[in-house]
């Protein structure tokens, strides 16, 4: 029994060491790729280049009198849905983009802006418009998640700007 456990520990340790080494080797590249993609997505939402010095790693950032950017997570049908949200001060509207999800392909993946124009078509919608958003047939939980994300975004902006 002790021998069995020792062997399993040794194999597990070896696999762990390989993973730690690979993680150290690839971490810099992965971080750079993720940041570049996040910047590209935000610039696409804003319709303009963002300042180089802007810290994109925060959960909420931007200016309360212009544009605020947020990262949100809401529960979906098959796991968390990760979103990036832009709030505009001039008309208090939102634009949402999903950056990660596990919704069912062909049913709940209409929220992925690279597959479907459903979410980009809602760009510029106000709080009331998001609250009155219809469910997509067959994807009630995913539709609820989008309404919840919009409500959460408005709540975060208010909390951030009132503080």
């Amino acid at each position: 029994m002790v021998r069995l456990l020792s062997i399993l520990l040794a194999i597990g340790g070896g696999c762990g060491a390989l993973l730690v080494g690979t993680h150290a080797f690839t971490e810099e590249g992965i971080t750079a790729n993720r940041q570049a993609r996040a910047r590209m997505l935000l610039e696409e939402l804003a319709g303009a280049a963002l300042p180089e010095h802007m810290d994109l790693s925060q959960a909420t950032f931007g200016a309360c009198d212009d544009r605020m950017f947020q990262r949100l997570t809401v529960p979906g049908y098959a796991g968390p849905i990760y979103l990036t949200v832009m709030w505009r001060a001039d008309d208090a509207s939102l634009a949402l983009r999903v950056t990660g999800h596990r919704e069912t392909p062909g049913i709940g993946d209409f929220i992925d802006h690279q597959r479907d124009a459903w979410l980009p078509a809602l760009d510029g919608s106000t709080r009331l418009e998001f609250e009155a958003l219809d469910n997509v047939s067959g994807a009630t939980i995913t539709s609820n998640a989008m309404r919840r994300a919009a409500a959460q975004a408005y709540g975060s902006v208010e909390a951030y700007c009132d503080a």
């Binding site: 194999i11 696999c15 993680h23 590249g29």
Partner: protein, 225 residues
């Protein structure tokens, strides 16, 4: 023919994981919409297949019989994670397209099957050739399906090759986009249709070869090595 080349030939042709054993069909059908996607998954599967099977063969005398499946899955999962990390670091756009199917390589019965049936009982050299042959067979199936589907659906070949080979590959695309013969081929039903036709073609070639060579035995009757 040397024993190693015989192992390789048998793994690619007689025991082709996709066309002879119908293994690993989920990623095969899902990712093979273009040649570049197919190449990406083929490369990732090859790394996991060869790396994990050689590792299992090297450790075969150490791995306890009663815990062998757990050890195999642990080793395969390690190589799958390594491949995913490398892909995310060095081919990010391609990673975004095929990441889901790279991550589920760990559950691919083609890899676990060869680990259990071959790598855990054979020498490192034999295992290397068997794993390389199986991976090559899978890659050939992926590329055939990817090429046919991309041609039928988009009228192109090697579109987006720069995602895998860098900016130099931007000019590699072959464009026949004026003739999009079967747009359905880009979607899952089209994948099943094309895969079915290629499977029939592969079987016809095997039966033809068998009828010309009476000494060859049916694949199903061969003992698994």
């Amino acid at each position: 023919m040397t024993p190693n080349s015989e192992i390789l030939r048998s793994a690619v042709l007689q025991r082709n994981p996709a066309w002879a054993q119908l293994l690993g069909l989920c990623p095969l059908l899902a990712v093979s919409s273009t040649v570049v996607n197919a190449l990406g998954l083929a490369a990732a599967s090859t790394v996991v297949m060869v790396g994990s099977n050689v590792c299992i063969s090297a450790l075969r005398k150490l791995i306890p019989e009663e815990a062998r499946l757990a050890c195999f899955v642990l080793i395969i999962a390690t190589f799958t994670t390594i491949t995913t990390l490398i892909l995310e670091a060095f081919a990010y756009e391609l990673y975004l397209k095929i990441a889901l199917f790279v991550q589920i390589i760990v559950t691919n019965c083609m890899i676990l099957g060869r680990a259990e049936a071959y790598a855990s009982k054979q020498s490192i050299a034999n295992t290397f050739f068997d794993a390389a042959g199986t991976a090559l067979g899978f890659a050939i199936a992926l590329l055939m399906l990817g090429a046919v589907r991309e041609l039928l659906a988009n009228g192109t070949l090697l579109a987006d090759a720069h995602l895998l080979f860098g900016p130099a590959a931007l000019t590699w695309q072959i464009d026949y986009s004026a003739a999009k013969l079967l747009p359905l081929a880009a979607y899952p039903p089209g994948a099943f249709l094309v895969a079915g036709l290629l499977y029939a073609l592969f079987n016809a070639a095997r039966f033809l070869r068998r009828s010309q060579d009476p000494s060859s035995t049916p694949m199903a009757r061969q003992p698994d090595q």
